[in-house]
């Protein structure tokens, strides 16, 4: 398969891994944060930790939109959908995320009209096809998905579709990175920058990480070779004592971003003064809300929203895991009370969440391979 297989070529991967081993100083320990949940998923799925030397530690960042969404927002969205004649539409990612009284999927099993959509425009299509129903699109995502929500709202307004609203949970990546860098227990040497988000915002917004925080950052793609190559680029910068923003994912990410997408976002959205992030708390100017000109399509203004706040169980250490202070398995609940089937913390819900990825792909392997004695049977 083109554009995929080239980046999974075993020979190139082995070569790049050798290069990493050559560049990494055996005397030091490296902590690189992959900001994006897509990277976390790839790292586990392709078993990249097996390929890397032991002194390169990958720390999983906050870039999983499902994981950072507070439970109260899910409760709010579902409470709107509990009103008669409402269709609740969301990405598949959202379907298993637990609210206080169950996930959207569990609400569906109890009779709520819940639909999985592939894009916001599919939700708008639902509204067109069901004129006697209200379609609520539960929007989540960073700058990756925000432009398509914006374009859908522009279209809904242009076509005058009144039975469509968006419950907006879009967040922005830069304030989250800043929150992590401001955290007193932060011990990150460099960043693997998010690929999809950068397709929209470009590479410029990361300039301050290199210039002010003096940390290298390399925007990377999602294939095994992309991730390994970005680690080579980070190690080279560190060897040369440089702190730069570099773009490994040039085949997709333009340095200046996507102007059309940014324009659509600017037309529809404005920054919220503050927004709550699960595990990180309130972060100022870190999320988007719908502008007054589109108020009619804003579910938070069309419906009465209870504004539920749910505190995470005290024992769950999602925040520490999200900031890279703890490894998933170091959380007290990991694998016991909190599993992908019964997630307590949000990081266990999405397959991009570091806990779920670690649980699915890694922790039993770690537990069992340590017992390997080399005895063959």
């Amino acid at each position: 398969m083109r554009f995929v297989d080239e980046f999974r070529e075993p020979e190139l991967i082995t070569k790049t891994a050798d290069e990493i081993r050559r560049l990494a100083d055996p005397q030091r320990h490296y902590r690189f944060m992959e900001v994006c949940g897509g990277h976390t998923h790839s790292i586990y799925r392709f078993g990249l930790k097996d390929v890397l030397p032991a002194n390169i530690e990958l720390v999983h960042g906050p870039g999983c939109p499902v994981c950072v969404l507070p439970m109260g927002r899910i409760d709010d969205g579902l409470s709107i959908a509990e009103q008669p004649n409402v269709i609740f539409a969301a990405f598949g990612d959202m379907m298993r995320v637990p609210g206080t009284h169950g996930s959207p999927l569990e609400h569906k099993a109890r009779g709520m009209d819940v639909r999985i959509v592939y894009s916001p425009s599919d939700a708008l299509k639902l509204a067109r096809n069901n004129p006697d129903k209200q379609v609520l699109f539960f929007a989540i995502g960073f700058e990756t998905t925000a432009p398509s929500t914006a374009l859908t709202l522009i279209r809904a307004k242009a076509e005058g579709i009144r039975n469509f609203t968006v419950f907006c949970n879009h967040v922005t990546i830069i304030p989250a990175i800043r929150a992590i860098l401001d955290s007193p227990d932060m011990r990150i040497d460099a960043f693997i920058g998010p690929g999809h988000v950068s397709t929209v915002i470009g590479c410029r917004p990361y300039g301050w990480i290199a210039a002010n925080e003096r940390k290298p950052i390399v925007v990377a793609g999602f294939e095994p070779l992309d991730i390994l190559q970005s680690i080579v680029m980070l190690l080279r910068q560190m060897q040369e004592n440089e702190n730069k923003v570099e773009n490994q994912y040039k085949r997709v990410v333009p340095w200046e971003g996507n102007r059309g997408a940014l324009k659509a976002m600017a037309e529809v959205f404005e920054l919220r003064p503050y927004f709550e992030w699960r595990g990180l708390g309130f972060i100022s100017q870190s999320a988007l809300r719908i502008k007054d000109a589109y108020a009619e399509w804003d579910a938070e203004r069309r419906f009465s929203v209870p504004g539920i706040r749910v505190t995470d169980p005290k024992a769950a250490q999602c925040g520490e895991v999200l900031k890279g202070v703890l490894k998933p398995a170091q959380c007290k609940l990991f694998g016991n009370e909190c599993t992908p089937e019964h997630p307590i913390g949000a990081l266990m819900v999405s397959s991009e969440g570091s806990c779920a990825a670690y649980y699915n792909y890694e922790h039993r392997k770690a537990a069992q391979l340590t017992q390997l004695t080399g005895v063959s049977c």
């Binding site: 398969m1 598949g92 039993r364």
Partner: protein
């Protein structure tokens, strides 16, 4: 809902509720069919309910699934289906032509599989109390001579064979629902696997230690069940698992693991290492078996789990599916 999706929750429902109450004790390893002694003759008996939306999809329909599914459950338990009985639950208002179409599809599939449909039952429920139609088929078959399969027969070093490309059925259904704006030239793989199973039995007989058709929950779930039942580890070589580009592409786009996607016309076999090449050659010689592949082996570790390895030395644990596979977008 997850309790019916074939993965972990289904397993828990069986182990935690059905087995203790219905069988009185912890069950023997769960096979695809029960083997029952009737007056000194051992027969295999199985049943399966079919619920699918849409009823018709590229490559098949619910009627064909209902016949092939039960024929296959018998086949992978080492039995040749002799007769099926069928039970329909129909939603009031279902157009007659849809019902007739499915009955004809069943007749055609039964003929192709060499099985008789010997009887049946019909119930109609109020409009809205069922989704168009559900079909249950139960099948009885006699054991294929020379085969003796059970997780207990599986040994370290045994090879794992797969009859053909995975994921065709599950991805076809996902796309046929029309909820995703994706199109691909794909067809469900629904078919009877009996000719392939018989070829395998002829070629290596007792060298076959275990078989399973990886339907809901996919190859990953079936192999996890095996790992759990035999207490050994399964190691899969990712690059050896046959999969069409269309299925891979759809899985890449939707963030799904092809190893979790349902199949309706494939089966997995664990074969003694020294008979593996003969088994593979036998499968490949049968029409529809050309893409059969040796995809991995049984090992001591990781006990009870499935480990997938890549050509460049990475590896990951692949668990059973939890619930239905859901597309990942954001």
């Amino acid at each position: 809902m997850a309790h019916g999706a074939g993965g972990k929750a289904s397993r828990r429902l069986i182990d935690g509720l059905f087995a203790p109450i219905l069988f009185g004790s912890a069950p023997a390893p769960l096979g695809d069919a029960a083997h029952i002694n009737v007056n000194g003759t051992c027969v295999a008996l199985t049943t399966d309910s079919f619920v699918v939306r849409p009823l018709r999809f590229p490559g098949g329909s619910i009627g064909e699934l209902a016949v092939n599914g039960t024929v296959n459950d018998l086949a992978v338990s080492g039995a040749r289906a002799q007769a099926l009985v069928v039970s329909y639950v129909l939603e009031a208002g279902l157009p007659t032509e849809i019902l007739e179409g499915e009955v004809r599809a069943m007749a055609t599939a039964a003929k192709a599989a060499g099985v008789v449909i010997a009887g049946g039952d019909t119930k109609v429920v109020e409009h809205g109390k069922a989704d168009q139609m559900y079909i249950t088929t139960s099948g009885i078959g006699h054991l294929i001579p020379g085969l003796s399969i059970s997780p207990a027969a599986v040994r370290c070093g045994d090879k794992i064979l797969l009859s053909g490309p995975i994921g065709d059925h599950g991805i076809t259904i996902l796309l046929a629902r029309g909820e995703l704006d994706l199109e691909a030239d794909l067809r469900s793989d629904t078919r009877s696997v009996l000719p392939l199973v018989e070829a395998l039995a002829d070629a290596v007989g007792a060298g076959v230690h275990w078989m399973r058709d990886p339907t809901r929950g996919g190859v990953a779930t079936s192999l996890n069940e095996l790992a759990h039942d035999c207490g050994l580890g399964i190691r899969l070589a990712e690059e050896r698992v046959p999969i069409r580009d269309e299925v891979r592409g759809a899985c890449e786009l939707l963030g799904l693991d092809p190893l979790h996607i349902a199949n309706e016309g494939q089966f997995l076999a664990v074969v003694a290492a020294e008979r593996a090449e003969a088994a593979l050659a036998a499968l490949r010689a049968v029409p529809g078996g050309r893409d059969a592949a040796l995809i991995g082996e049984v090992s001591e570790q990781p006990a009870g789990s499935v480990l997938v390895t890549t050509l460049y030395g990475g590896s990951r644990i692949v668990d059973m599916l939890v619930g239905d596979p859901l597309p990942r977008i954001c």
